[in-house]
Subunit: 299 residues, 2 copies
């Protein structure tokens, strides 16, 4: 039996449109209504034919949905929730795909009193944005984290929904999610954005040299530094404390490494560089990255 037979998705960017495609593929009988505020995006969604109904009105999209998924930047969740509040069907569950969970749980709870809320975060994505960038297999073998205030029948249905799309589900507390993701996602993005900014602002090395010789490692960082600016602005504004705490730890470790370089402590460097290999190995063994050298880039 399908966990839901009528689903609404608000926001048709990379994640929303991937979700639409994945639902179509895995649960073709689900009635899928979607909305987006951008006319160009709606036109693309119609052309791509990845939903049954496309509207500019979030309220209209959710009218008889059993599951409503908000796929908008974290900072916009509260406003979108307020917009749909009056139109939700009795018994509807509201979920989302935002990368920050504490703030989203608070915003949705405030905007939707009495409604079942099961915040979610599929840990998956690419550096591309918009409805053309989405694809049905994005969530396959990736983890989707749910952070309901209380586990129960609602969170079980949302779990079953994500598992149908090929994802693995983990339930955790919203605050813990925000600490974990600060490490595995938010800090890496912040550092990537930062180093790409630094490299393009130097006087002694030209931008053209940075680009030409980027295959030495720098180009890896430019991928996530090409991610959606508004989405990531909102992540940092809404997971401030966990990000600042993790960043503090990183800076402390980096300064220790800086000191080891200054004093020529080769053993310290080699010991760290040896230890970090093991983590890559574990990530590959757990199916979270490819074994192929250089991420499988063409050579």
């Amino acid at each position: 039996m399908l966990p839901f037979s009528r689903v609404a998705i608000i926001g048709m960017g990379l994640i929303g449109s991937s979700l639409a495609r994945a639902v179509r593929e895995a649960m073709p009988t689900v009635r899928l209504t979607v909305s987006d505020g951008d006319a160009d995006v709606r036109a693309r969604v119609l052309d791509l034919d990845i939903a049954d109904d496309v509207t500019d009105n979030a309220g209209a999209a959710v009218v008889d949905a059993e599951l409503v998924i908000l796929a908008v930047p974290v900072g916009a969740m509260g406003a979108v929730a307020a917009e749909i509040a009056a139109d939700l069907a009795p018994g509807a569950i509201v979920s989302d795909v935002g990368s920050v969970k504490g703030r989203v749980l608070a915003d949705l709870t405030a905007a939707l009193p009495g409604i079942a809320i099961v915040p979610g975060h599929p840990v998956a994505g690419t550096e591309k944005s918009g409805p053309d960038a989405g694809f049905a297999s994005l969530f396959r073998d990736r983890w989707c984290i749910l952070t309901p205030a209380k586990e129960g029948a609602d969170s079980a249905r949302v779990s079953a929904f994500w598992e149908r799309l090929g994802a693995k589900v983990e339930i955790m507390d919203a605050a813990h999610h925000d600490r974990v993701l600060a490490v595995t996602s938010h800090l890496p993005h912040l550092i990537a954005y930062s180093i790409v900014g630094t490299a393009s602002d130097l006087e002694s090395v030209t931008r053209s040299e940075v680009i030409k010789f980027s295959a030495g490692g720098f180009r890896d960082f430019t991928r996530i530094a090409a991610s959606d600016p508004v989405m990531w602005r909102d992540v940092f504004l809404n997971n401030r404390e966990a990000v600042l705490e993790t960043l503090g730890r990183f800076t402390e470790d980096l300064v220790a490494l800086q000191r080891a370089i200054r004093w020529g402590e080769g053993d310290t460097l080699e010991a760290l560089f040896t230890r970090t290999r093991a983590i890559r190995r574990s990530i590959i063994d757990e199916g979270q990255d490819t074994e192929t050298p250089d991420f499988g880039r063409p050579h």
Copy 2:
């Protein structure tokens, strides 16, 4: 006409063995002699059949070579050069593939008085090590930087050699090379090693959580943090000044970003995150990375 008809390569790791394969493919009539201090590596090279002669003695490998390429960690260059000094043929050119050039130029010049020295650095590689990890197309469309003390007939021959292997050649001053690569390669590796170390040492987030949810961005950093520990130890010990200077700039920019997050300056964040997209675009346009989302990882 071939730039060289007898070539020796000392060191059969990822780069040395890729070079051997590339020479075999692009210039099959070249007589190729190689050496490595590790018996297991020599056995693999024999099995792989990627050289005409394999020896444990660097001096024996270079005896009648017109071009000798040292493919050992930067810190070992001086000792290997001293080992081959007495065996070099008259007119032989000595080159290398090290990621640091100022120190290597100085070490080779001191160990090989009167010998033509053309230091080189192919800006290419993967996170894998050893002779099995090499492949012939590694240098295709990548830049190889040469840093001879003086340009002339010798550097022109070495340029022609790399171009035959599909590389593009740029000649620059060794000190400038070390500043450029500090940005495009050494700092990225240092930061990747550092963040992977930080993530595995936290109390509030387990190692298993870091691994599970690494697809949020962290896994990208683990690739270059799986690179050869000894090679990278030597890079940092031998390009200390340029690395520390670049690291200082990075830390300054990161602290500014930290402050923007603390004070909720969304416009500052969004402006940077928008600007960094353009660099990725240029790297793709210049053929230095793939346009395919997520580096072309399987989905």
